[in-house]
């Protein structure tokens, strides 16, 4: 089959311990995992405080990377997060079990597309928003959605990945710990990269940090999923 192709116009990323582009370049070059100290969150200085107050840390990280580009109503947003506002959702479930009265504000912001919606309201951008979660294949699903939108005629697609460590409650379902991060890749029509399938299994599914490291380094190819989807560098 033909591969899905796209160009990459720009990238942005934020984590509690990696707050500049240079820090991310160094991180990618070292091939070392980013370790995220708890608690730190970005300022999101561009957003009006009355709207910013709604967002918790995960949302603020996503907003921080979105605000690193100019407002652009023609640029669709694909919001891809495996767990979304999991800290918030867990706290809501605990409160529901305890008191049967949950915070309407926290509930409204725990919906998966809420942060992207908050962003479009704050910047008055009538942009198309797609929010998705696809387990360990969230990075692959986000890339495919964004690449298909570009192929379908979108002039620019902002692909936002974000996640943070799971609350301790989920430790019985132990997964490799994911440090907190938000990443934005701005896809445009072009042929810098291709997504395709090959008859070769990989050891694990790639997460969004693996994708960013691939983008920032020189490797020719990244295995996106165990089942054979790959991302190839062409330019």
């Amino acid at each position: 089959m033909d591969a899905l192709q796209f160009g990459l116009e720009s990238w942005a990323a934020w984590a509690p311990d990696l707050t500049s582009a240079q820090a991310w370049q160094d991180w990618a070059a070292q091939g070392a995992p980013a370790r995220a100290p708890e608690g730190a969150e970005p300022g999101v200085a561009g957003m009006p405080p009355m709207l910013r107050r709604r967002a918790q840390r995960l949302g603020r990280m996503a907003l921080e990377v979105l605000y690193q580009s100019e407002a652009d109503s023609a640029a669709n947003i694909v919001f891809a997060s495996r767990f979304g506002e999991i800290q918030q959702s867990t706290a809501l479930l605990r409160e529901l079990a305890r008191s049967h009265a949950v915070s309407p504000q926290a509930f409204s912001m725990s919906v998966h597309n809420a942060v992207a919606g908050l962003y479009t309201i704050a910047r008055k951008e009538p942009a198309r928003v797609m929010a998705l979660a696809a387990g360990t294949q969230t990075a692959q699903a986000g890339l495919f959605e964004a690449a298909m939108q570009v192929t379908d005629g979108a002039p620019r697609v902002r692909l936002v990945f974000c996640d943070e460590p799971l609350p301790a409650l989920y430790s019985p379902f132990a997964e490799p710990e994911t440090p907190a991060f938000a990443i934005m890749l701005t896809l445009v029509p072009g042929d810098d990269y291709a997504l395709s399938w090959q008859l070769e299994e990989a050891a694990s599914d790639a997460n969004a940090l693996d994708v960013l490291r691939f983008v920032l380094t020189e490797a020719p190819q990244l295995s996106l999923t165990k089942s054979g989807w790959v991302m190839t560098r062409r330019a």
Binding site: P49, R52, R53, R54, A101, V102, S103, P104, Q105, S108
Partner: protein
Amino acid sequence: MDPLIAEIKTLIIESLNLEEITPDDIDADAPLFVDGLGLDSIDALELGVALQKKYGLSFAADSEETRRHFASVSALAAFVGSHRTK
């Protein structure tokens, strides 16, 4: 200042994450919603839950009377003062 008014201002700031506002910034007689403080419908629900928990109040979801009680901090303080159960 009436201690109940000060208490309600603090409750509003804390429950609605008004991170850059102090109790002195809130005019007790100014409208809370749209104009004045600029709160919205989600804030109204949030504040309703907070008042319910702290003072044991109950509200009719969307009555004219409830709107009057939520008009300003002063109006809320008068309502809390006369209807609180804790």
